[in-house]
């Protein structure tokens, strides 16, 4: 069953009414083309500002009906899990209450269940295969703009499945962000801290990440979309052009996409495929690529990792694939994948260092080492991968114990100060404390993966005591973790 726009809005309103401490509902600044309000939810628990943020949007394409329902249900389940201390059970995947607690207390989770309410209403009342919004395109009998071609990223470059023709179902619109529905998404990216973004579509069982317009390459940083003309209504003229992405970001996209895929498979074994958007077909002006591209086009904007998830399988025809008679199993898959994305959006160092300690400078120093040193070699990136894997597993353990969290915060702070001066020697006491706390965490986590990762980290750390920070970094970028 699928909810109407009014019913989706009603559920958001009920959540905010009954759980105002966990759900804030607000109307986005622009009405839809036909004058409908568009609502966003902010879901969270506890106090604290400047959290990392996740933005989930659904219903961009009108006929992809499952996803607005999945998103509003996920909001309800997050809050209920937090309130009751209950697990979220999604088929064979159980999301522990402790994991949900961490998500709720550390993230701002923004959800726009139904980005294109006019389109959804049209699907339910006129044409169940309608895709676009309901823009009346002047001087033509064709209506609608494809909202997922309307963003300001190579807007109007007719690459692959993008068109300047109003009669096309992939019509990019008369200008970038010409549509109020896309401006609402931009508003959230402009005004909220959004670290991770997912635009949920259907169908094909894919997890897509940038780039969507051409193949991605990691070797020639002069190849940037910012150098290309927009609004040409032609494909990119150089058929050999490939878009640059840093190796670190490519690895990050691939890693997180794989974790989303794994979390989905855990539900009932569906095998989603992670790939670049271009691997599906060429596109420009999409929400998820725009969300990621913003920080490249304008370095003053916050970096957002943007994904598109294509939920649900092909079931023999387009109609039943877009809106199957029983969408419930697919919604379970979707929710599990989105929870995995949220989990990957947490940065333990930032959380412990800034939220618990207020040590912004120390965390900045560690972040610089991650991005400017470790990310530059495959071995260094393997260390980043190891850390990102470990943090997801151990964070609930650390945050559940105030004394442990305090010790962790102290170590982060001291490590951050040490990292600020690469010529200084690493105090043997800092190494000993770090090894001790990592060992404690590994013992409590009772997870072989954590034990193996901690052993690898401790091996590198124990060789670092009394030596300059630079020596440790040289070792890390030369030799990855032994696992």
């Amino acid at each position: 069953m699928y909810r109407t726009v009014a019913q989706l809005d009603q559920l958001g309103g009920l959540l905010a009414q009954f759980f105002p401490q966990h759900c804030q509902r607000f109307q986005l600044p622009e009405l839809s083309v036909l004058g409908r309000p568009v609502f966003a939810l902010r879901v969270r628990a506890g106090a604290g500002d400047n959290r990392r943020g996740v933005l989930l949007v659904g219903g961009v394409h009108a006929r992809e009906l499952m996803n607005p329902d999945a998103l509003i249900e996920l909001a309800v389940q997050l809050i209920v899990s937090y309130r009751n201390g209950s697990d979220i059970v999604l088929g064979g995947r159980v999301w522990q209450a402790t994991d949900i607690k961490v998500l709720m207390e550390t993230l701002d989770i923004y959800i726009v269940p139904c980005t294109n309410p006019d389109g959804r209403d049209y699907v339910m009342t006129v044409d169940d295969l309608w895709r676009k919004n309901r823009r009346d395109n002047p001087e033509t009998t064709c209506d609608g703009v494809d909202l997922n071609r309307n963003c300001d990223l190579l807007w109007g470059v007719a690459q692959g499945q993008t068109s300047c023709s109003p009669c096309s179902d992939v019509f990019a619109g008369p200008a970038a962000f010409s549509e109020p529905e896309t401006r609402n998404v931009k508003f959230l990216l402009d005004t909220r801290r959004v670290d991770c973004f997912v635009d949920v579509h259907s169908y094909s069982e894919l997890v897509l990440y940038p780039w969507g317009h051409v193949p991605t390459q990691t070797t020639d940083s002069t190849k940037r979309f910012t150098t290309l003309p927009t609004g040409t209504c032609q494909p990119i003229t150089d058929p050999t052009y490939q878009e640059y992405m840093t190796p670190r970001d490519e690895q990050r996209f691939q890693t997180v996409a794989q974790r989303i895929v794994t979390a989905i498979a855990d539900v009932r074994g569906r095998a989603y495929t992670p790939q670049t958007g271009f691997g599906l077909y060429g596109t420009t002006g999409t929400h998820s690529d725009y969300a990621y591209a913003r920080h490249i086009a304008d370095p003053n904007t916050h970096k957002t990792y943007g994904y598109t998830v294509e939920t649900g399988p092909w079931v023999g025809n387009a109609r039943d694939s877009f809106h199957p008679a029983d969408p419930e199993p697919i919604k379970l898959d979707t929710k599990s994948g989105l929870l995995a994305l949220m989990q990957q959006c947490i940065c333990a160092i930032e959380l412990i260092g800034v939220a618990l300690l207020g040590g912004e400078h120390e965390v900045d120093a560690l972040r610089r080492i991650r991005d400017d040193v470790l990310a530059t070699t495959p071995a260094g990136r393997d260390w980043i991968l190891l850390f990102e894997d470990l943090q997801t597993r151990v964070l609930p353990v650390v945050l559940a114990d105030d004394a442990l969290a305090e010790r962790a915060a102290s170590v982060v702070s001291r490590a951050g100060r040490a990292a600020a001066d690469e010529t200084a020697s690493i105090e043997p006491e800092l190494v000993a404390d770090t090894v001790r706390i990592l060992s404690d965490v590994a013992r409590r986590a009772d997870d072989p993966e954590v034990s193996a990762g901690v052993a690898a980290a401790n091996e590198a750390l124990e060789a670092a005591g009394g030596r300059p920070v630079a020596a440790l970094l040289e070792r890390l970028v030369a030799r990855g973790p032994r696992r």
Binding site: M1, R3, F18, R83, D127, C167, N317, A318
Partner: protein, 90 residues
């Protein structure tokens, strides 16, 4: 009337990727091919361009099956069922 159809290149047509320039409604295809929702005029145009078009099914313009739309009572009942304990604590 509207059809769901797959499109295939022939010796008389352009390469298959060129079909993108015809501004038709392409939907994902399980085999990675070109699958579209097209009206009769579109079908004619595709054939005139030299493509082979295989109509897979009729896809009439019609609203969503009303049997797939939730009713008001179900929505409220679902919310109350899901949140009962959590609201009780509030």
């Amino acid at each position: 009337m509207r059809f769901e159809a797959t499109v295939h290149a022939t010796t008389r047509s352009a390469e298959l990727h060129a079909v993108d320039s015809l501004d038709l409604d392409r939907v994902p295809d399980p085999e990675g091919g070109v699958r579209m929702l097209v009206g009769p005029e579109d079908l004619t145009r595709l054939v005139a361009e030299g493509y082979e078009v295989r109509v897979q099914s009729v896809a009439p313009v019609a609203p969503l099956d009303p049997g797939l739309v939730s009713d008001e009572a179900d929505v409220r009942a679902w919310f109350e069922d899901m949140t009962g304990d959590a609201r009780g604590e509030g």
